[in-house]
């Protein structure tokens, strides 16, 4: 009995495994990033929902806009711009906060989730290297989220501005609105802040979260946070100092060296280094990037050697 012979089609003549057209690394990267967006729709759904909420809220806020504008005009010239820009700055901060939270949760699950649901074995059955996979996942907090935040914020602010203009038509206040709001400068500052702080300055944060995600067998959120807390507490007990805590605080709340100190301004300016050259010259930036690169390299090695949980 030999059903094999019956079942087999004739072997193709010649070389059956001709070399196919090669696939460029860029194309593999493109599909790997798309795959992340398919899986994690919250990356764009959550910020878009927040943007929609902001627009609804600002629509409600339009009702007494002429009164607010008159109050702002009556204020000192220094306060005037601040008061008029406030809703726009607030919208930007809210969107940035949202994408940062999305980024944190995304990173914690990025390399842990695929091992937990064992689908990592499917992804590994395809010719996509661990390096490409980890870089594609890292590109979400480093590139995709900042650019998405930028685009969404600009669109949201533009719509807010147009709505305000429409509301103020005929009140004679439009000229004040447009003279006080420098949309171009706001946009430029936003992009600069997102790239400088969210992507580059916070790089060790994203690297750390991805590393923990690649390493932990359970509860990656706890592994990402508790060890940092433990180090701080041990340092306090052992040496009665808090350098580690200060380091983290400086990194995630303080911002890089050369921060423009504008006092009580809640605007983005408080987080943005005064000049790009000052920022690029700060050792803190480069130390952070080296640490982030080391974390990511470790994450690549872990993805290679760790199997499903």
């Amino acid at each position: 009995m030999n059903t094999r012979t019956d079942a087999m089609p004739d072997s193709p003549v010649g070389s059956p495994f001709a070399a196919p057209a090669p696939i460029s690394p860029a194309r593999r990267m493109y599909w790997s990033v798309r795959r992340e967006l398919w899986e994690n729709r919250s990356i764009y759904v959550a910020p878009a929902a927040v943007a929609a909420l902001i627009l609804v809220a600002s629509l409600v806020g339009m009702i007494d806009l002429p009164e607010k504008m008159r109050a702002a005009v009556a204020a000192s010239p220094a306060r005037q711009q601040e008061l008029i820009e406030e809703p726009y700055t607030f919208a930007a901060l809210l969107l940035m906060f949202t994408t940062m939270v999305v980024g944190v949760f995304y990173c914690i699950d990025a390399l842990y989730g695929e091992r937990r649901e064992r689908s990592v074995l499917f992804w590994k059955s395809l010719p996509v290297s661990d390096l490409t996979t980890v870089l594609a996942k890292a590109s979400i907090p480093f590139v995709v989220l900042p650019l998405l935040t930028f685009a969404l914020t600009v669109v949201t602010q533009a719509i807010m501005l147009l709505l305000a203009s429409a509301r103020l038509a005929g009140t004679g206040l439009n000229a004040t609105l447009w003279s006080q709001i420098s949309f171009g400068q706001m946009t430029w500052l936003l992009l600069y802040h997102l790239m400088a702080v969210h992507s580059l300055w916070w790089a060790p944060l994203w690297g750390w979260l991805l590393l923990v995600s690649a390493w932990s067998r359970r509860a990656p959120f706890l592994w990402a946070t508790l060890p940092l807390l433990a180090i701080g507490i041990l340092e306090k007990i052992a040496f009665n100092t808090r350098h580690f805590g200060a380091l983290l605080e400086h990194r995630f709340l303080g911002g890089p060296e050369g921060v423009a100190s504008t006092g009580g301004n809640m605007g983005m300016a408080s987080l943005t280094p005064a000049t790009p050259s000052q920022f690029l010259a700060s050792p803190g930036l480069w130390i952070g990037l080296v640490v982030a690169a080391a974390f990511l390299a470790a994450a690549v090695q872990l993805r290679r050697s760790r199997g499903p949980i």
Binding site: P16, R28, E39, S119, F122, P127, G307
Partner: protein
Amino acid sequence: MACIEARGLRKAFGKTIALAGIDLRVEDGRILGLIGPNGAGKTTALNAILGLTPYQGELKVLGRDPWRERDQLMRDVCFIADVALLPRWLRVSQALDYVAGVHPRFDRAKAEGFLAKTTISRASKVRELSKGMVTQLHLALVMAIDARLMVLDEPTLGLDLLYRKQFYDSLLNDYYDRSRTIVVTTHQVEEVQHVLTDLMFIDRGRIVFAASMEEVESRYFEVTVLPAQLAAARALKPMHERQSLGRSILLFDHSGRQQLAVLGDVRTPSIADLFVAVVGGHAGQAQGAAQ
């Protein structure tokens, strides 16, 4: 060139030895069944072959070191490690897009052709499909890859009888073409009996039996011995003896068929019976017999 060649392949997890230095050679175009009890080292061996785990010893798959050259190797190798591994959020259309996007040897039209024979909708997510359908989808994806080596680790686990039959039928009819090599591990040995060209038993990290199916057919015989001949049959030193419906069934290695025919009905043993004879009970003795 051999498709897979291992010498002294060893892997230990702490004090547990998963692979105790195995030698292995699989020629191109074979369909090898790797059969063994749970924890015998089957999956570890496959993981080493697929470059999913580091190992000691020498191992070449398609002429490459799987651990160090895994990325290149995966262009010529495809595998299904366990069923129902496809991510649950993935849509069928996305699965096709993605594999087509990253795999140079993926033939999308072929995959679409396989899917057309099923009831799987392009818009469905994996989580909406039954287990049988997920397997069909995975198989459609993998069979559309023009790979030189296909590795299947328990591909039909948890599937009902109908799908299991279909699985091996499509593998033979639509995929296997004598130039490809397939390595499969399974517990459902009856289903692969007519599929395999080569058979290997693995137990406690060692290969305890390796033969082509032709060898199995020409070398091993199972005899339902007539009661009167039992003493004479036992004198021929059977590998194994079992009782079934009140009759003694003896399994012989290397005895002449003619000689055995006088003792009772002679036939080729099933893989399951051979496995029990070799691995079950007296593995040590059988190891000698297999060499």
